[in-house]
Amino acid sequence: MLRYITKRVFAMLLTLLIIATITFFLMKLLPGSPFNNQEKLSESQRYALNEKYGLNDPVPVQYINYLGKLAQGDLGYTFQFDGRTVNSMIVNGMGPSATVGFEALLFGTLVGLVLGIVAALRHNSFIDYGAMILAVFGIAIPSFVFAGLLQYYVGVKLEWLPVAFWNGPEYHILPAFSLSVGVIATVARFMRTEMLEILGTDYILMARSKGISKNAVIIKHCVRNSMIPIITILGPMAIALITGSLVIENIFAIPGIGEQFVKSINLNDYPVIMGTTLFYSFLIVVIILIVDILYGIIDPRIRVAGGKS
């Protein structure tokens, strides 16, 4: 197992290097440099600015310089704000985004699991249909519509919760809830499907007939075995949630990273695009690694297969 993990970590570093390379050259393909048309910049100023950020060097030199700084964890300076580092922008933006995302993920997974399990146990009952209708609505309504309605009714009409901003815990509820709807829907549906499949297998029947209590069978056998596909979808979902949602951050005025990223793309802010991309990729490969290790823990059969390779 340890050897497997070490191997994977090295592979991970290689992946990151490839991603850094690809994004770097993609960035160079983007037309327009950050300063090529700042409206009132003079020619010599533009040259000096490009010089300051090393944009006049030949591309391979820029690439080497970039990798060198990257190795030291230095992502450079943004072009949008005076004297601010990309590192500080990511750190500042990541806090609120990750907080809301994590809350949404936790809440969404818990509710989704419970809904899915209950729906499967009461297959074809009123509860089953109710849960699934909820789940379908959860994926059928665009998040900006849902968040907008929630903000208007709960925030403006009922005045139960703050409309927007990022202050105390009560400010987290609406955005986290809006984000979690998709999670609930997806998790509930997957869980129900898996549970139904496993409930029909022979070993569950076997366990039951051995006299193990129903609850024990459900928890020990059904739920545990149903978790595999859930973990697979939870990985990417966790990244999508934690790295911030432009829509939710805009609607609830959360100073998160999602909005920052989209804006930096529009403004050709290379260091921010690259820094954020690399940061995302880092999260993604780490989560994929964790998911693969979790497979092994939850389903021993995969560990055997993995160990052989």
């Binding site: 037309p31 327009g32 950050p34 090529n36 048309n37 700042q38 409206e39 009132k40 910049l41 003079s42 020619e43 010599s44 100023q45 000096a48 600015l49 300051k52 949008q80 704000f81 005076d82 004297g83 601010r84 922008m89 933006g93 907080t99 809350e103 809440f107 509710v111 903000q151 208007y152 709960v154 925030g155 403006v156 005045e159 139960w160 919760l161 703050p162 409309v163 927007a164 901003f165 990022w166 202050n167 105390g168 815990p169 009560e170 400010y171 987290h172 509820i173 809830f177 979690s180 805009n250 609607i251 609830f252 005025a253 100073p255 909005e259 920052q260 793309i265 529009n266 403004l267 050709n268």
Partner: protein, 558 residues
Amino acid sequence: MKKSKWSLLLTLVLALSMFLAACSGGEKEKAGDSKDGEGTTSEKPAEPQVLNILDGEEIPSMDSSLATDAVSFEVLNNVMEGLYRLDKDNKPTPGVALSHETNEDGTVYTFKLNPEAKWSDGSQVTAKDFVYSWRKALHPDTLSEYAYIMGPIKNANAIQTDGDPLYGKVEELGVKAVDDTTLEVTLEAPAPYFLGLTGFATFYPQKEEYVKSQADKYALEANTLLYNGPFVLNEWKHNEGWQYKKNDQYWDKENVKLDEINVKIVKDQATMVNLYETGQTDITGLSMEYVDQYKDNEDLYTRGEATVFFLRLNQKSEALKNANIRKAIDMAYDKQSMVDVLLNNGSVPAYYLVPSDLASSPDKEDFRKTNGNFGEYNVEKAKELWAAGLKELGKDSVELELLNYDSDGAKKMGEFFKNQLEKNLPGIKVNIKAQPFKQKLELESKGEYDFSYAGWGPDYQDPMTFLDMFVTDGAHNQMAYSNPEYDKLINDAKKEMDQKKRWEMMLEAEKVLFEDQAISPLYQRGVTGLQKPYVKGLAHHLFGADVSYKWAYIEGKQ
């Protein structure tokens, strides 16, 4: 359906809130700070002087010599002060300067500074602080995008021009600190708008000692900056908002009534309106969709601005090189209904380049009033001109590309424009190319488009800020327009000592521009929004910073 849906929601919300309260207790003390201002000070007899507002963007720069955008200008205008500042009527009123004298031909200004003007650390604002910051802005190493605005000052242009013998020699700039309270400024040529210009961010003072002690941290955070304006930045949470507090070192603090201004960054229009309705902001802008909804609301305001939007007609394009084609295009779409239905925000159709109510002649006559309108909406005439133009080109159809911003409003505009032209001019086909902001500017500056939707706002209170855009090979011409007559008028006007003649030249230049139909003006922008009736005394400006809070106050909120 309604009832059951909401009760379910309520349960979920409650469950979530319990779980949240448990896991993020540490942030509690921050909670509700936007509400505090309203409730806690109620025992005081006077009303709490707290203003809550929104802004759309984070502040890009707080260094006055580097600031380039509307947000930075607005914040700087309220925490800093130049020699003069603009009052409610956009007239210069003394700031750090007590008074000024000019020599006979208006090329030397001698400013007497107010000895009471203080930095927020209590030290005096001296003439040296101005000399330092102006030189700093012009120094090539500073890379100040707005340095060009110092152009009227003697040698400023030479100092900025690479290759000039004076390049980089900021000591040669026509500004001198005679003593601590006397500043002498020499201009290249008389500039009637210079006094107003001293209220512009690039002309603000900076205290050398402090700037150097902060080095590269200067102006990055609220506490690495010295203020000399009516307010100080008390708190600056990046990407979230900032808070102004009254500056108790300010020389004119008796006239500053607001104690606190809370600014939050909000980008979504619906959120802004919802915050306004729940009283968490006192002012909000409105986009076209919301104007109809609040049409009868007494909080609705509409205000004209001095920004003009127009279509650049790129003369690199074969078809648009033809004057008849350009004229036909300008006449073929209905500017009035475009403004009424699509913008719906107090914008007025523009048949001109220099906006109305921006600047008046030495005889106090508005530029617009003298020169009147050029062009009209006339489909019949447009068709005639179009046919004539096509004949000259020897073609029976033309395909043109409209370069557009990718914002919603701009896209609507593009759709309308395409539809109108294709309906009214037989044989035209318009393709819309919407691009992100920077890419659009890039394509524009390379001239890779046929026509493009563009806007221009004034940098100073003079028609020249619009007119010198279109001189041959000007940095903002970007459409290959060239007319020697126009170039001559503009260059002569810049050197002209006689104010009346100068004005005549500028009037003439605009006429020449429209004889050529170099651009097709769209509209002069207006803004509309909601403002609580208890917010009083805001001063709005046509150029530089959008608004001053110095004279604002709250009355009748309770």
